[in-house]
């Protein structure tokens, strides 16, 4: 065992819950993770001991809050291998991080007729902001095709990258299929063609070692709540030289150095992009989450997830009439497993599993184009994390077999 899961489980109070008299089996981690006591306590401590606004007061509480806030930024910067914490901008979620790049750097640097390259497996948050910008500026969007096994079609990528898109934006790990994309290899080719590379890392940063220098990306979007932190906190990494030459999106307090009636001067990075009072508790919770994950070791987290994914896929593959989506190569996938059971609709399946205490996601996973590509109206998705066990995978399999019986398939 790479992680002490028994010990980890005691850190998550919610895992003691019973649903319909059965122990909760939480397999919806790609939607949001549960929170350990350490994160809940850090937020609690902030409110009980040093609640104050940051970067404003000179009083003790404000100083303490500011230190905790900026320490969290440094922790996250180290966590993903940024050169400096100036490269980390706090936003609401990964969606906002991607929108921020679209509305600032991309809006200023792309001209009518320019191309943007995405992939068919993107979450809506990495499609719609680009469609909006494309409409505004007259841009063209191309999509790298996926193969039937849910991996990207490399030949198609090589063709499309030769069209010299200004932006290549892709998911590190697919939220619907779990596919891990070879970001570094693709980023190299994209850079050679002059593209700026943006990575949606919402599904990778919580689950495996992620290093922006190794990935060779220019921007990276991540989400706090999928990595043990509270909702409402997202992170945008941007290369310092790019951010420095980018105008802010929102104006207000915090983002300025000086304001006069006839104009204002922007604050330094990263605060230039953080107008208004930020989500202080979210950032402090994020700091505690990074500490927790760092202590476990991200390589250990990845090994644990590989083990449970391998095991779950093996078991699921033996369930009669169950269709599994995505590659079977464990090295190429994260702990997200999409499937359909016979002709049972994903929502029906999720409702039936819920009565067994099992929480899974069902639907289109905010990836409608991908569902169209797979030619399925929806899928069920089980996604695992640090506190999930092989036994829980067994419980899932048994519940699926029951559901099949119920629907007579």
């Amino acid at each position: 065992m790479t992680l002490n899961v028994t010990k980890i489980r005691t850190d998550f109070p919610i895992l003691k819950r019973k649903i319909a008299g059965k122990p909760l089996v939480y397999l919806d981690n790609a939607a949001t993770s549960q929170k350990p006591k350490a994160v809940i306590a850090a937020i609690d401590r902030y409110y009980q001991e040093y609640n104050a606004n940051v970067h404003r007061g000179v009083h003790r509480l404000s100083e303490e809050a500011t230190i905790a806030f900026e320490q969290s930024r440094e922790k996250f910067a180290r966590f993903i291998g940024a050169k400096t914490s100036k490269e980390i901008i706090f936003v609401r979620n990964a969606t906002e991080a991607l929108n921020l790049v679209a509305l600032t750097w991309a809006r200023a640097n792309l001209r009518s007729g320019d191309r943007i390259l995405l992939t068919e497996m993107e979450h809506h948050s990495n499609i719609v902001p680009w469609q909006m910008l494309a409409k505004e500026k007259g841009l063209r969007i191309d999509y790298v095709e996926i193969r039937d096994d849910g991996t990207l079609n490399w030949e198609n990528f090589e063709q499309l990258i030769k069209e010299r898109p200004k932006i290549f934006s892709l998911a590190h790990v697919s939220n619907a299929l779990g596919t891990i994309n070879p970001v570094r290899q693709m980023a190299r080719e994209a850079h050679e063609m002059g593209a700026t590379v943006i990575v949606d890392a919402a599904q990778s940063v919580p689950h495996m070692p992620v290093n922006v220098a190794d990935l060779e990306c220019d921007f990276l979007a991540a989400s706090g709540h999928k990595m043990l932190a509270p909702t409402g906190i997202g992170m945008l990494y941007g290369r310092q030289d790019l951010l420095e030459h980018t105008e802010p999106l929102m104006g207000g307090g915090e983002m300025i150095k000086e304001v006069h009636l006839q104009g204002a001067r922007w604050n330094d990075l990263p605060w230039k992009f953080e107008a208004g009072t930020p989500n202080i508790e979210g950032v402090i919770g994020l700091g505690a989450a990074v500490d927790y994950l760092t202590k476990l070791g991200m390589q250990n987290v990845r090994e644990h997830e590989k083990d449970i994914t391998r095991y779950a896929i093996e078991r699921l593959a033996n369930v009669k009439s169950l269709a599994l989506y995505g590659t079977r190569e464990i090295e190429k996938r994260g702990a997200v497993i999409s499937f359909n059971l016979g002709d049972i609709h994903a929502h029906d399946l999720a409702t039936i599993l819920d009565t067994q205490g099992i929480a899974i996601r069902s639907g289109q996973h905010c990836a409608e184009p991908l569902m169209e590509r797979l030619k399925v109206p929806a899928t069920s998705r089980a996604s695992f994390y640090i506190y999930n066990t092989r036994r829980e995978a067994d419980i899932l399999v048994r519940a699926l077999e029951k559901a099949a019986k119920m629907f007579k398939i």
């Binding site: 609709h345 994903a346 029906d348 409702t351 569902m371 109206p377 119920m406």
Partner: protein
């Protein structure tokens, strides 16, 4: 434990939908989709002297949405338009014989929305969206 909503009658309507397909001489129809899950339902009605002479449906989706559509066609056939237009969420739960819960009731409501839109079209009036889910 079998969840109430997936009892025999509902699964039977799902597996063997009643009044499925085209309705000859229909004088109105409506179609709507639940974008969240991709359920699609289309209904055709024949209205005659303020009565629902006949009704049929077509669609794809989960067991709850399809079974509700099937049960609704059986229920409303031969009923006065005014009675069907008055149907509400609670009536659907009664019809299904089980409460699908706050998330899944949306699946059941789709069929009712479509039916109400169809019969309103048959009467030449429109139902405002906010009225439909009372």
């Amino acid at each position: 434990m079998t969840p109430d909503i997936y009892k025999e009658t509902i699964l039977d309507h799902y597996r063997h939908p009643r009044n499925y397909g085209d309705l000859p001489n229909a004088n109105a129809q409506a179609r709507d989709a639940n974008n969240l899950c991709g359920d699609v339902i289309e209904m055709q009605v024949r209205i005659n002297a303020k009565m629902i002479d006949d009704v049929s449906f077509r669609g794809q989706g989960c067991a709850i949405s399809m079974a509700t559509a099937s049960m609704l066609t059986e229920f409303s056939k031969g009923k006065p338009v005014s009675e069907v237009k008055k149907l509400e969420k609670d009536d659907l739960i009664k019809l299904l014989g089980a409460d699908p819960g706050p998330a899944r009731i949306e699946c059941a409501l789709l069929a009712l929305d479509v039916l109400k839109t169809a019969i309103s079209a048959g009467q030449g009036t429109k139902v405002p969206k906010e009225e439909r889910r009372k």
